[in-house]
């Protein structure tokens, strides 16, 4: 009988903070830019340069720590992590080992298996490394320090996860929480959120953890799920073959769906951490902490509750609307203009979600102005356009933030309320379709639907369907 194994997973999540400047110098953190154009002596490790801490980094780290129910080290320090690599300009990274800013927190996740708390071991602040571009022509690498010194927080979980589903749920939870706090945009593809997976397996019921490996280079939820499955299998195979799992760092290649060890005899993995003498300790007073606490924005769980209570939305709808801070913001901005939460919610839930799915985009990508959606809702409400036309207009708003009023005007999409003109069109339709008229008279009620449809078509959808119905019926009856 084959043995049963349990997978034990802990995550190290790096998040790039949304500060305007780097953690220790006044260089811009803006993404892109030609190589080394956002650099200075500090973030390129020039001799004699010195770091000075960006206050905002501490505030973001505290905000995340509080949201993740962490204890705060009110006296925290920065340490140097020493290792040589070309993207690390000083050949030490300024990080926190001995006294990280936050520790011992938790977040709650929900999967098909139910709700579960995932422990947060610690959150610390550190600087990002530069970027290495590999030049195949000259068989060399090129170093760009634009990202060097961009502030990061590293969120280290406890080994509390057991499945890829839990890992994804945890990451989604962190992402949502941090986006709500405005501390980062958390884009996996752009690298502003990165996860390293620590994974080990053990026989079900065993009280001890197995030997773990650390996997890097995971830049999508799908890659993470595949890497977890791949590594789980690899470790179980090793154990079944009577071999040992080696504690090591492995790099996941998502194209080959395979990981390989990042070992080198030149890597001692001995980082010789010591307190950075160039930086002073950070002391977080009760007052400062209270200030941060009071400044915390409404987070998703509270918003979810409020949407149900205040706007009387069903839980399902409120969940989807609040799943993205950006979508929730757009929702709230729209109702701030036009009220009608139910209507706004409908447009978001049905049409916006449909279009996002069609274009394989995230809610974060919605770029239209709430004012335009409000105007659209107003146009429908006032009977200026009908619902069918409104859907087309919404597509224009979604795609290019079109002004619905101008668009309706330009395309002549207003409902025609001129009864005389409508009568004329209906007459023409009846004359053109004698068979249907005869069918109706012969008792086939259905034929009327066809004639209404033909009239709407002739009116290019701009007629008020109720009025068309009324006139068609009236004329058909009259002609008898």
């Amino acid at each position: 009988m084959s043995r049963q194994y349990e997978t034990v997973i802990g995550l190290e999540v790096h998040v790039e903070l949304a500060t305007k400047t780097k953690i220790f110098c006044g260089c811009s953190t803006e993404f892109g830019g030609a190589p080394n154009t956002h650099t200075c002596p500090v973030c390129t490790g020039m001799p004699g340069s010195l770091p000075v801490l960006n206050r905002q980094v501490v505030e973001y780290a505290l905000a995340v720590g509080l949201a993740a129910n962490c204890q705060i080290n009110q006296y925290c320090k920065f340490d140097r992590k020493n290792y040589f690599y070309p993207d690390n300009p000083q050949n030490y990274q300024i990080s926190q080992l001995y006294l990280p800013i936050c520790h011992d927190g938790w977040v709650e996740i929900e999967t098909a298996g139910g709700k579960k708390k995932i422990g947060i071991h610690e959150i610390h602040m550190e600087e990002d490394a530069g970027k290495l571009i590999h030049d195949e022509w000259e068989n060399c690498s090129l170093v760009d320090f634009n990202r060097s010194g961009v502030p990061l927080i590293e969120i280290v979980s406890e080994p509390d996860m057991r499945t890829a589903d839990e890992v994804i749920a945890y990451l989604e939870k962190l992402r949502m929480m941090i986006q709500y706090l405005g501390a980062s945009d958390c884009k996996l593809q752009e690298g502003s959120m990165r996860a390293d997976v620590n994974l080990s397996v053990r026989e079900a019921g065993s009280p001890q953890f197995g030997t773990r490996t650390e996997m890097k280079n995971l830049n999508s939820f799908k890659a993470i799920a595949r890497a977890i499955e791949g590594e789980r299998k690899r470790q179980i195979e090793l154990i079944e073959e009577g071999k040992k799992v080696i504690q090591e760092t492995r790099r996941w290649d998502d194209n080959k769906e395979f990981s390989y060890a990042m070992r080198s005899k030149e890597d001692a993995q001995d980082y010789r951490y010591f307190p950075d003498p160039d930086l002073t300790p950070v002391v977080i007073s009760d007052e400062w902490l209270e200030e941060i606490r009071n400044r915390q924005p409404e987070l998703q769980p509270e918003k979810l509750k409020r949407y149900q209570e205040e706007f009387k939305l069903p839980e399902y709808d409120a969940k989807i609307l609040t799943s993205s801070k950006h979508m929730a913001d757009m929702f709230e901005e729209t109702i701030a203009i036009c009220g009608k939460p139910k209507e706004v919610s409908n447009w978001m839930m049905v049409e916006a979600m449909r279009l996002l799915k069609e274009h394989e985009q995230d809610p974060e990508n919605m770029a239209f102005s709430p004012g335009n959606l409000a105007k659209l809702i107003d146009l429908v409400d006032k009977g200026i356009i009908n619902r069918t036309v409104a859907k087309t207009v919404f597509e224009e708003i979604f795609a290019r933030d079109a002004d619905p009023e101008a668009y309706v005007e330009e395309k002549g999409l207003k409902i025609v309320n001129d009864e005389e003109a409508l009568r004329k069109t209906v007459m023409q339709v009846l004359e053109a379709n004698p068979q249907s008229v005869a069918d109706y008279r012969g008792g086939k009620e259905k034929a009327m639907g066809f004639l209404v449809g033909q009239t709407m078509r002739a009116m290019k959808g701009k007629a008020d369907p109720a009025m068309v119905n009324k006139i068609v019926k009236e004329l058909l009856t009259k002609m008898i």
């Binding site: 020039m46 001799p47 004699g48 801490l53 070309p86 000083q90 080198s264 010789r272 951490y273 160039d278």
Partner: protein, 480 residues
Amino acid sequence: MSILELTALELGRKIKSGEVAVLEAVKASLDQIRKKEPAIHAYVTVDEQRAVKAAETVQKMIDNKMLTGPLAGVPVAVKDNLCTKDLLTTCSSNILYNFVPGYTAEAVSNLEKAGAVILGKTNMDEFAMGSTTETSAFGVTRNPWNPDHVPGGSSGGSCAAVASNECFYALGSDTGGSIRQPSSFCGVTGIKPTYGTVSRYGLIAYGSSLDQVGPIGKNVSDCAAVLEVISSYDKKDSTSVPRKDLDFTSALVNDVKGLRIGIPRDYLGEGLDDEVRQAVLDGAQTLKERGAVVEEFDLSLVEYAIPAYYVIASAEASSNLSRFDGVKYGLRAKEYEGLHQMYKKSRSEGFGPEVKRRIMLGAFVLSSGYYDAYYLKALRTKALIKQAFDKAFAEYDVILGPAAPTTAPRLGESLKDPLKMYLGDIYTISVNLAGLPAMTVPCGTDKRGLPIGLQLIGDCFQEKKIIRAGYTFEQTREGK
């Protein structure tokens, strides 16, 4: 009297009154450099063109009354570990043989703003590691009093340049005695200020928690005036201390009545040369005659300062010097295979034996398993040493002692036995561990005619007390 015999302040006054032109002073210095350098070799770089150009600019600004300070137009020499924009800065190391910074150290920048004219960069022990200036990659500096002897170190070039009138004053740096010991050996005056008083921005770090920039001059008045100019609160240096008492020249008072001076018995014991002991005790007697209260006391822990210092300084140095890797600036080995060999070869070719020795010791004491036993132990010892000084300063205003156990040794004598050389720093090193201000003033010569220096140590932020004591002592020696 030749211009060269003037003190910096005397020259400054003559320039201000129009009696001496800036260019005249600069040319006199450059002539003296040409004459003396073959025998002394105090400079790594002399930039005549730059000095002449600066002289013209400064002269105009003095004429326009845009520069009115006491040092405007006075030529200065700068230790080669202080970055100077567009002027070669080598730290007397092969690894920086071609490094031209794009920025200027804050201390130098403050001097330039006050109208100083930089003649060039002075020789030093490589990366300030050494006590003789013999570890320079660019040749030894000789003692102007006797060229068979060392000038001391690591600011040996700066002190020799002042002693041989190759400049009117100089900047040095002091991590374990590097201003005070060579000042003693060269018969000049030097001040190591309280840690945090002069910005370290642009000072190429050796031991970041110990390094301070300070003045070296012909007398106490010059040093006080220079210190007043270079001291500033600098937002670019997180360890910079905001102070409101930087008017050091106000302490140039010829009076020590009631000043309580303590002489540590531990500073007069075994290892101290008899002639040095006598000169120091005579100096103490002189101050007593001028009204100071002088007594001997037990400072304790003196013999623990050196081992604690070598752990802390080497650990910090091993990390600080890891940025020299052949990637961003400085030496890259010509032949190598792959990244790690490039690192190893560049660093092995670029660093001299003393620097390698300290980097290796530092890497070792921080390495896994040794951190607590060595590094933390040294930091605890440092705390005890600070406590011992706190206790002493509760009793005394100034601590008086020798700056070095002997006068300048002969060239080649010290490097044979590194440990013995380290022991020579016994009276200076604890001052850096405790962050204290201290000063060396000449107090006599030995029978071979080599200078002896008297060290005056103050409590943190009490530069004015040692300046007053030093100034009063100096007045008693006029004409000696």
